[in-house]
């Protein structure tokens, strides 16, 4: 059979977003790939130059529709670095709870999308069922279900609602039990194993050279987690260690990437439980919005020539914000905001990972890298 190019996307079940993967196939075998990104470029970086620091939080929420809280928190930490704000410790704990719940929700969204990629709808329905619990918890914090706009420069918008800790503990306890159900339908299914094991090998060295970060590299045995290697917030006060897979000599396959995310979900749940216990002031107390216990004082303007930077462990890798403050000339706005999206780097690498495998492996491999196009195109 002659070789031919297939254009998968921009609207295709495999893409998990809006982009095109051009695949050159020889029969069923993938010979070459070419990702084509940029369909939903919104110019967030440029928009940020005309917004003040609180308003930008709303835009950063919309960077990734599956993992809004991690992105707005990444922005907030960079802005606090720029504005030199002292954050109350209680606020840091609340942020950790919000971010880790968001990470669980994001990984559940990933697993829910990955199961149909390899042909099982039950996993999707189960994962979205548990994601609802996380969404409900996040809704209690942020007030909305998808884009929470939760953090503020210097703290958080709201304290934990009354009874939140109780509900959160109960739901996470249930969730930790439910993870075993996913493992029962995935790990113990031979078909899932033959579809994911030995497919889509990615080596740690190659990924590091490309700049791939996050769970994808941890699946390849590289135990680098920003929360662990460069602890920000209160991550060094918690008793945890990153989930790392031991890959085979050929690198990490789709199964490793699946395992590492399931382990991360478990770990995030345990971290939230621990954070609720250790929270200063107790997790059952509730302060009014704007109370100094949850919101520190922050200047509205950045100093001339000052820059802010933060790298943050997003659900999909290492997200970075680099801000240049504009001084008096720019008013309350930053001079320039630069966003480093982990997926923008991962997707071209993942596209190269598929060469030599079958067409049926394309969704299995691409899905295992957890693409999110909102942040990729920014």
């Amino acid at each position: 059979m002659a070789e031919m190019w297939i254009s998968m996307g921009p609207q295709h079940p495999m893409t998990h977003g809006l982009w095109t993967l051009k695949v050159k196939v020889d029969g069923e075998t993938v010979v070459d790939t070419e990702p084509d990104l940029g369909y939903i470029h919104r110019g967030v970086e440029k928009i940020c130059e005309a917004r003040d620091f609180t308003q930008i939080t709303t835009y950063c929420d919309r960077l990734c529709y599956a993992s809004a809280n991690t992105w707005s928190h990444a922005w907030i930490y960079a802005a606090e670095d720029l504005l030199e704000v002292e954050v109350p410790e209680r606020a840091e704990y609340i942020r950790m709870v919000a971010v880790e719940l968001q990470r669980i929700a994001s990984h559940l969204m990933w697993l829910g999308a990955y199961c149909p990629d390899v042909g099982n709808l039950t996993g999707m329905v189960w994962c979205l069922r548990e994601r609802e619990m996380m969404m409900d918890l996040l809704q209690e914090l942020g007030g909305s279900r998808m884009h929470y706009n939760f953090p503020r420069v210097g703290g958080v918008k709201r304290d934990l609602p009354i009874g939140f800790a109780m509900r959160c503990r109960a739901k996470l306890k249930l969730f930790l039990d439910r993870i075993q159900e996913y493992e029962a339908i995935l790990d113990e299914s031979t078909i899932f194993l033959v579809r994911t094991q030995g497919v889509g090998y990615a080596k740690a060295e190659e990924m590091i050279n490309h700049g791939v970060t996050g769970p994808n590299t941890r699946a390849a045995g590289h135990d680098y987690d920003v929360r662990w290697a460069h602890p920000y917030s209160i991550y060094d006060e918690l008793d945890w260690s990153p989930a790392v897979e031991r890959p085979s000599i050929k690198g990490s396959d789709c199964y490793d990437r699946y395992r590492v995310r399931v382990e991360e979900m478990r770990q995030s749940a345990l971290m939230v439980l621990e954070g609720l216990d250790k929270m200063p002031g107790g997790s059952e107390t509730h302060h009014e919005s704007g109370d100094p216990a949850i919101l520190g004082k922050a200047p509205a303007r950045a100093a001339e020539g000052k820059t802010g930077f933060h790298h943050f462990e997003d659900s999909r890798g290492e997200s970075m914000f680099y801000i240049a403050g504009g001084g008096e000339a720019r008013g309350k706005h930053p001079y320039r905001v630069s966003i480093r999206s982990p997926m923008f780097i991962t997707i071209p690498y993942a596209a190269k990972c598929m060469i030599g495998y079958k067409i049926a492996d394309i969704p299995a491999i691409m899905g295992s890298f957890d693409p999110c196009i909102g942040e990729t195109d920014r």
Binding site: P13, V194, V244, S248
Partner: protein
């Protein structure tokens, strides 16, 4: 032949005979009376069988929705024709009955209001409060959602028929009819009862298998003529897969034929009824093979490569829409239904009731009921596979077919021949009672042994049995600056 209180064929035969004698028999063509009566019988029976199959097909679709809802921890979809009629949240579709003259529509409005009160989508009903969880609404005895597919079909009927500009138009138009017609034709040869069949030809199984394997050709035509890369790949996959699975299927069917000593479907069932043992207890391997191969033949998960929606959008039927798509979807389910009915006939004794000879008065139950119950029972397996399993890759599916199913089906055929030759020659009355018991227990023991392939030590250590990698936690301080 087994007696049945539902002697449909006999009634139709006598009615057609009467009709033919009353019309043709009175004319100068009286010599054709028997031919006309036979033609009428066949025609009416074909229509009756078609109606029975099409109506009970709704059970299959309803079962699939409800079972999947349970498996997936989600209660199935709630809309149905009834909701079109009853309306939702007290809002009915236009209250057209009030526009009828002289108030003749008032009773209709009253009935509608009553229905709305009892089974409507009212937020005060307990069931509707659970609609948030996609629960059923209304009362169970209305079989909520049962007529969903009629509503779906009406939607398909209203859709435009669009042909891709650069497609091979003739083949594109012919392919769906090839698929649908041959699928419907299968049911001509599948009896629903001892006196409830449309055709009883001598070689009905052979003919059935021939007709059953025409549809893949239509699939390939459809995939190729659409002039779309996805449909082309889907069509090629379908051709490869069905070729690979056709042979084990035929060999497995052959084993049933060998052990029953007939190519006639009715005689296969009568053989099971007379010998007192269903074939599943003699050929458990054959039953398993038949089930697996049939899942592949009707292209359902885990073998739904040709329409793998994750990578091929919708596979070979990507370019079809409207009622052609709807009919092909129906044909897909009809093929599944045929597979279930064939399993019931080949391995579960067809229309014979369980313990028909021992339980008194059980023969009073119409035999067609047992056929349907067995077929629906088999369909549970199809849905179960779909809920529990993932999609297999093309090369894996072909490897599985050629390397495992084909040799196993040959082993099964040899076993059937040995049983027929040396254990039971078809004449000597009943099977030696020990043989089926022995075979079944060996089969069950093998199944259990092969199913428990988990490593008990690994289970105790809470690691996964198939896991080749382990989670290695990073040690404290290893990478911390």
């Amino acid at each position: 032949m087994t007696d049945d209180i539902l002697n449909v064929r006999g009634w139709v035969e006598s009615a057609s005979q009467f009709l033919a004698e009353a019309t043709v028999g009175q004319s100068r063509h009286w010599g054709f009376v028997d031919s006309v009566a036979f033609f009428l019988t066949e025609l009416i029976m074909a229509i009756v069988i078609f109606g029975a199959i099409m109506n009970t097909l709704l059970v299959l679709l309803w079962m699939e929705r409800k079972l999947l809802g349970r498996f997936m921890d989600r209660r199935g979809a709630v809309t149905s024709l009834r909701s079109l009629w009853v309306g939702e949240n007290g809002v009915t579709a236009g209250e057209w009955w009030n526009q009828l003259p002289f108030g003749v529509g008032k009773p209709i409005g009253g009935i509608n209001r009553a229905l709305n009160r009892i089974a409507g989508n009212d937020h005060e009903l307990e069931a509707v409060r659970r609609v948030q969880n996609r629960s059923y609404h209304g009362v169970w005895w209305l079989f909520p959602g049962f007529f969903q597919n009629l509503a779906d079909g009406m939607k398909f009927l209203t859709k435009e028929h669009m042909v891709p500009e650069k497609s091979d138009r003739f083949v594109y138009e012919v392919a769906p009819f090839l698929i649908i017609a041959t699928t419907v034709m299968c049911f001509t040869f599948i009896p629903l009862g001892p006196h409830f069949f449309s055709n009883n030809s001598e070689m009905s199984i052979l003919f059935l298998m021939a007709v059953f394997s025409v549809a893949p050709l239509g699939v390939f035509f459809a995939g190729w003529s659409s002039n779309n890369k996805y449909t082309l790949l889907g069509g090629i996959r379908s051709a490869a897969q069905l070729t690979a699975y056709e042979i084990p299927l035929l060999v497995t069917v052959l084993s049933v034929v060998v052990i029953s000593g007939s190519f006639n479907m009715i005689e296969v069932i009568e053989f099971q009824a007379n010998s007192g043992v269903w074939n599943i207890f003699l050929l458990p391997l054959g039953g398993l093979l038949f089930l697996v191969v049939m899942v592949a033949e009707v292209e359902r998960i885990p073998f739904d490569m040709p329409e793998a929606e994750a990578e091929l959008v919708e596979g070979w039927w990507t370019e079809y829409g409207g009622m052609r798509w709807g009919l092909m979807f129906a044909a897909e389910y009809l093929r599944t239904y045929a597979a279930c009915l064939l399993f019931a006939h080949f391995f579960l004794g067809g229309w014979e009731a369980p313990f028909e000879d021992t339980i008194p008065f059980i023969s009073m139950v119409p035999h067609v009921l047992w056929v349907f119950l067995k077929a629906w029972f088999m369909f549970i397996f199809f849905v179960w596979f779909r809920a529990a399993l993932h999609r297999v890759r093309t090369d894996q599916i072909l490897e599985f077919g050629w390397c495992y199913l084909l040799p196993l089906s040959l082993v099964n055929l040899a076993m059937a021949a040995a049983l027929r030759l040396w254990v039971y020659d078809g004449v000597a009355g009943e099977w030696p009672i020990l043989v089926p018991i022995l075979i079944t227990s060996i089969g069950l023991a093998l199944f259990v042994l092969l199913a428990i392939d988990e490593d008990p030590e690994a289970l105790a250590a809470q690691t996964r049995p198939y896991s080749v990698q382990t989670t290695d936690a990073a040690g404290p301080g290893q990478h911390r600056e």
